[in-house]
């Protein structure tokens, strides 16, 4: 196929059902829960999720996109620990602490303590009609000549000019048989040879 780029916020634009949702849409929607987050994109993401919630439209979060969402939760938790406490953390770990990765390398406990919050985060996505795909869901490929995913990853990265995570999301979408992705990342438009991209 040869896809197109659409503006999902236009009332006359109907999305395919289901549509793969990129992680940046999830984070932008989270922003509306803080007052004053008046970026245009926050309103656009909120409107998209409201349509999922109220109009029966179905979104799908692939394993790679879900992994990106939980990664930012972990990263931000460690960044909160580091903020204003570098000297104390250097003393505690007897190591250089310049950023969140330094604390992560020294101490897995803050991540382990996130179990409840991460499970809550996952559960908060589901009622928005956002289905979180399992790795097992990707096994029943509808692509007759699908190759080893590692070969396919390299092929897509180099054909689209997309980095690995975004290219992997397109592979997961294909394995699910979904030909449309909604994203606020301009890079994702490079997948238009094979996908309809909603922005």
């Amino acid at each position: 196929m040869n896809g197109s780029v659409f503006d999902h916020s236009q009332p006359n634009v109907m999305w395919p059902d289901p549509i793969v949702v990129d992680s940046n849409m999830v984070v932008a929607n989270f922003q509306h829960f803080y007052p004053g987050q008046d970026h245009r994109r926050v309103e656009r993401a909120r409107a998209f999720f409201q349509r999922l919630l109220h109009d029966g439209q179905q979104g799908v979060l692939t394993p790679t996109a879900f992994s990106a969402v939980v990664h930012v939760a972990v990263r931000k938790t460690y960044e909160q620990l580091v903020r204003g406490h570098r000297a104390e953390l250097r003393r505690r770990y007897d190591a250089q602490v310049d950023g969140w990765r330094d604390v992560y390398k020294q101490d897995p406990v803050p991540l382990q303590q996130l179990a409840h919050d991460l499970n809550e985060l996952r559960e908060s996505l589901v009622p928005y009609n956002l289905a979180i795909a399992d790795l097992n869901d990707l096994g029943g490929s509808v692509i007759p000549d699908s190759r080893h995913s590692s070969e396919e990853l390299i092929e897509r990265m180099t054909r689209y000019g997309l980095d690995s995570s975004d290219a992997m999301i397109t592979i997961e979408a294909s394995r699910l048989g979904i030909g449309a992705i909604v994203s606020m990342d301009r890079d994702m438009r490079r997948a238009v040879p094979d996908f309809d991209i909603y922005t």
Partner: protein
């Protein structure tokens, strides 16, 4: 608009999702009334802004300074 046949795996995923979504809505109600608490427990406002920038690097289509691009 692209049209593709739904795979058996996709149908299974969507069926499983519907059941879980119905259970969560029944237990917790409208997500707009409680998801904010989940978000606040993990993220501070500046965390979400920087997370969005990291996920869309090198740039979002919909930042303030790019609103006239399209």
């Amino acid at each position: 608009m692209a049209t593709q046949t739904r795979s058996v795996a996709l149908e299974r995923l969507l069926d499983r999702h519907r059941r879980e979504a119905e259970r969560i809505r029944a237990e917790r109600g409208d997500p707009e009334t409680w998801v904010g608490d989940v978000v606040h427990a993990i993220f501070e406002p500046e965390d979400l802004e920087s997370a969005f920038q990291e996920l869309t690097r090198p740039g979002s289509l919909w930042d303030h300074d790019q609103r006239d691009e399209r």
